[in-house]
């Protein structure tokens, strides 16, 4: 008899069935956004989504949205994955894998993910950073709500961007160390110990700002900035170029578009799989902040009060919402409505799959 075998590792798991073909469904807990699309899609009701609000807030030393840093009390022994699948019910059809907007569930057939098999539909979405346009400002890295972006950059050599001359007349120098304390580039080393006096200026660090010269009480430093006098004539513009690389971790990325939103150039581009709407009933909201804490794309925030001003209970950043619906499921006051009006997926012949994909719309 063919049986499903479940292998649990930490909070992730694999369900495998070996028959003529090997089917494997894997779940990555850290990727799961808790939207519950898998739960409502599963044709055999094998999937159960846990209480995502409680799980995502059970963290130590975290700033919870809307509530400034609080000493968190983690309940000992609390350790739950965001969803569970009954391996005896699961038929390894791959519906959950195909419809998971974060790709936390992945079905492979004989080792090939169904996203790479043409007969299976998958969402049309992407997020990418164009290296030709990127100026490596790292704004996207800071903004990314999933910490999925890594921008590494190599800065130009400071000495290549300045030009000048500096020297100390040691006959006049009294080794007082004022220049060392004033130097913004930390280029000067002074030893003031009697009998061992010395002064050394590191010309790789010096930017010829002339602060040392101006502050020297005995006028012992002679320095000149060549750029101030003659312009950039001996500076090579190519030496000033910042190089680097910007990489999006596609496993964690949920295509929310923060990178594109903050990018000062046209380097970051994204496309969301769903179109729709996010509505918050401000009167129903009791500002518990659960929505803000589960939202995978930082699209909801609870504003902090600054004085007696009437503010909205929840602020939404509509442009970054991926319409996953995790907030709607979590909200204890039913104050949030998420609607999907359009799902973008690759064509398929399967009527069942089309029905499931169309059922996401509401």
């Amino acid at each position: 008899m063919i049986k499903n075998v479940k292998e649990v590792k930490d909070k992730d798991f694999n369900i495998e069935r070996s028959a003529e073909e090997i089917r494997n469904l894997s779940f990555k807990n850290h990727v799961c956004i808790g939207c519950g699309i898998c739960e409502s899609t599963c044709p055999v009701s094998a999937i159960e989504l846990e209480e995502i609000g409680a799980i995502s807030r059970n963290k130590i030393n975290t700033t919870f949205s809307g509530h400034d840093k609080l000493p968190q009390n983690i309940h000992k022994g609390f350790d739950k994955a965001k969803l569970t699948i009954d391996e005896h019910k699961c038929v390894l059809c791959g519906m959950c894998s195909g419809l998971c907007p974060a790709d936390a569930l992945e079905l492979t057939i004989n080792g090939v993910p169904i996203a790479n098999i043409d007969s299976y539909p998958h969402f049309i979405s992407f997020a990418e950073i164009d290296d030709d346009e990127c100026i490596y400002c790292q704004k996207c890295q800071t903004a990314c709500p999933r910490d999925a972006i890594t921008v590494e950059r190599k800065l130009p050599n400071r000495a290549d961007l300045v030009s000048g001359e500096i020297e100390v007349n040691e006959d006049d120098c009294i080794y007082c160390g004022i220049c060392k304390e004033m130097c913004p580039a930390e280029a000067i080393e002074v030893d003031s110990v009697t009998g061992e006096e010395s002064i050394v200026i590191d010309k790789d660090k010096c930017v010829y700002c002339l602060v040392c010269k101006k502050s020297c009480p005995t006028d012992a430093i002679k320095a000149v900035c060549r750029i101030c006098s003659y312009g950039d004539y001996d500076i090579n513009p190519e030496d000033a170029v910042v190089t680097g690389s910007a990489i999006i971790d596609q496993e964690l990325c949920v295509k929310c578009g923060w990178c594109e939103g903050v990018c000062p150039t046209d380097a970051a581009k994204h496309k969301k799989p769903f179109k729709g709407s996010l509505d918050v009933d401000q009167n129903k909201c009791q500002t518990c902040g659960a929505c803000a804490d589960v939202c995978p794309c930082d699209a909801l925030t609870i504003p902090s009060l600054k004085g007696p001003v009437k503010v909205d209970n929840v602020i939404k950043r509509d442009e970054y919402c991926i319409r996953c619906g995790a907030c709607e499921k979590t909200c204890p006051n039913d104050a949030i409505t998420v609607k999907i009006t359009n799902v973008d997926y690759t064509p398929t012949n399967s009527k069942t799959w089309i029905e499931a994909l169309e059922a996401l719309k509401n």
Partner: protein, 76 residues
């Protein structure tokens, strides 16, 4: 998952009762700290300790757990 309390840990501060968004909806006067006028709420402080009244109304958002200073209320 369900809401659980440990009265041995509870200080009776009432933070969980006031912060609970479901309580706030059922009994808005809770927010003033005077306690609910009805027992139809999720939690209340009774005799100095937190007590669950309507467990089925809890939506497991984890707000009480987040605010509790002494691990006396949690969702598990």
């Amino acid at each position: 998952m369900e809401l659980k309390v440990n009265q041995d840990n509870c200080l009776g501060c009432g933070v969980c009762v006031i912060s609970c968004p479901v309580n706030a909806e059922i009994s808005p006067e809770n927010a003033g700290g005077n306690g609910s006028k009805t027992e139809e709420v999720v939690t209340m402080i009774e005799n100095g300790f937190v007590k669950i009244f309507c467990a089925d109304k809890c939506k497991k958002c984890g707000t009480c757990q987040m605010f509790c200073p002494c691990d006396a209320i949690w969702v598990e």
